[in-house]
Amino acid sequence: MSYVIPDEPRPGALGHLVVRPSAPLLASMLAGAWLAWPWFVLNAIALGSPTRRKEVGLVALAAAGTVALVVLTWLLIKLGVIDSRTTASLAVLAISTWKLAMAYWVCIVQSRTFHVYEYYGGAVRSAGAVLAAGFWLRPVVLGLLDDPFLIIIVAGGL
């Protein structure tokens, strides 16, 4: 019997899908939340991260917070507070900043486990193809939506 240090990952059947946490972070900038959020969750499960509940919780918080900010923006438009291109840009900037901050946060939490995983020789898959596909699919995914508020929710942080 051996003592298990609480930061040690326990990769399961999806272990071959592990990527660097910076890949979903980059996806949040280049492709959008539609790719980044599920990818963070998948990576947490693939890593067998001991903090996966926290990571999934943070992704849920990111999604809920983004929806809340979009609803607030919609209300401010209805109330006439947001009535120009400048104020609309400021609202979108606030939402982008929130999404970026949350993506950084999840990335940092996941990186702690990832470094241990990598240090002990865990296999890491290249994320280039998924990132490139995400970048090229971005207009297709956003084109499926006709509501600008929904587009703001699933679009990228930048």
Binding site: Y3, I5, P6, D7, E8, L93, S96, L100, I108, Y119
Partner: protein, 312 residues
């Protein structure tokens, strides 16, 4: 003492020796075996926290330090480990509080003085750091760690001659000390002797290829030789002095400021300025994305062909 307790003590001694040789994996393995025998052993948790810190597993170290304190909140070694972990997390006030407890209970442990001095140095209190190290050297006049730390404090204070004297003392006491060579390299770098600094870095890397300080010195030497890489290195060094939260706050703050400036420029009709700001931000993103890869490749190529001068 039962057989089990004797086994744990032996494993703790083994882990101490392995930690002193920077064999973090070996130390971690020994401590895991000790904790398998007694999962509530406070000193084993504390030693494991320090070993994990050495292996740069901060999350695990933080958990183990908390477990150590929960198992025995009165053991100075547990406070020592907690202070070291909190210092690495840049929670400096909390780190100092634990260090103070460790010093009050065990006032003859030079390593705690060295740690305390490091915390004070990070807090910008060089005078207090120097005072702690002088007290450490009164207890043990040729403690290489304390001499090296004092040289580092003198260097941070701009007293290059005093730093040189201290690091020379450390190297005289232990010519193969990696830490002393690293500080000697930084002293040389401050004097503008880039080649001398590189020799110290190469020696230190020859002794321990994975030593963080030696790699930092070697990177600083390479950064000094390349203007574009040096810019990134300086920015990165400045950024990593902050906690992770601080780093994100700075990066996001920069993003928000640039975007705000762009929005304002567009609002007042200065589209040229808005375009320039956009380009500036794009350039910054591209540079900070590409620079680390180039820098790492450059370092890797160099590290593979390190050869020391015969007369070094």
């Amino acid at each position: 003492m039962s057989i089990e307790e004797r086994q744990i003590e032996r494993l703790l001694e083994l882990s101490d020796r392995l930690r002193s040789l920077s064999d973090w994996d070996g130390a971690i393995d020994a401590l895991k075996r000790a904790l398998a025998l007694d999962p509530d052993h406070a000193r084993a948790h504390a030693a494991l926290a320090l070993a994990l810190l050495g292996a740069r597993r901060l999350q695990g170290a933080s958990i183990e330090a908390r477990l150590a304190l929960a198992s025995d909140g009165g053991d100075p070694f547990c406070h020592h480990a907690a202070a070291a972990v909190l210092c690495a997390e840049r929670k400096l006030d909390d780190a100092w509080a634990h260090c103070l407890v460790a010093l009050e209970v065990e006032s003859a442990d030079v390593d705690v003085y060295v740690l305390g001095a490091h915390i004070r140095e990070l807090q910008g209190r060089l005078d207090l750091a120097r005072e702690l190290l002088e007290r450490a050297l009164e207890l043990e006049p040729v403690h290489v760690g304390a001499l090296t730390a004092l040289a580092e404090v003198e260097l941070a204070d701009g007293a290059i001659d005093r730093a040189t004297a201290r690091v020379d003392e450390a190297l005289a006491a232990e010519p193969g000390s990696v830490d002393a060579h690293v500080i000697a390299g930084f002293v040389a770098l401050r004097r503008g002797d880039v080649a001398g600094a590189e020799e110290h870095a190469r020696f230190a890397l020859g002794e321990d290829a994975a030593d963080h300080g030696a790699l930092r010195l070697y990177t600083a030497v390479k950064a000094r030789r390349s203007w574009t890489m040096g810019l990134w290195w300086r920015f990165n060094s400045w950024l990593t002095l902050r906690s992770q939260r601080g780093q994100i706050a700075i990066l996001l703050g920069s993003f928000v400021l640039i975007q705000l400036a762009t929005i304002v420029a567009e609002a007042v009709g200065a589209d040229d300025v808005a375009g320039a700001l956009d380009l500036l931000w794009l350039g910054f993103c591209a540079y900070t994305w590409v620079a680390p890869f180039m820098f790492r490749r450059m370092l890797q190529r160099d590290l593979e062909k390190i050869v020391l001068r015969d007369d070094f």
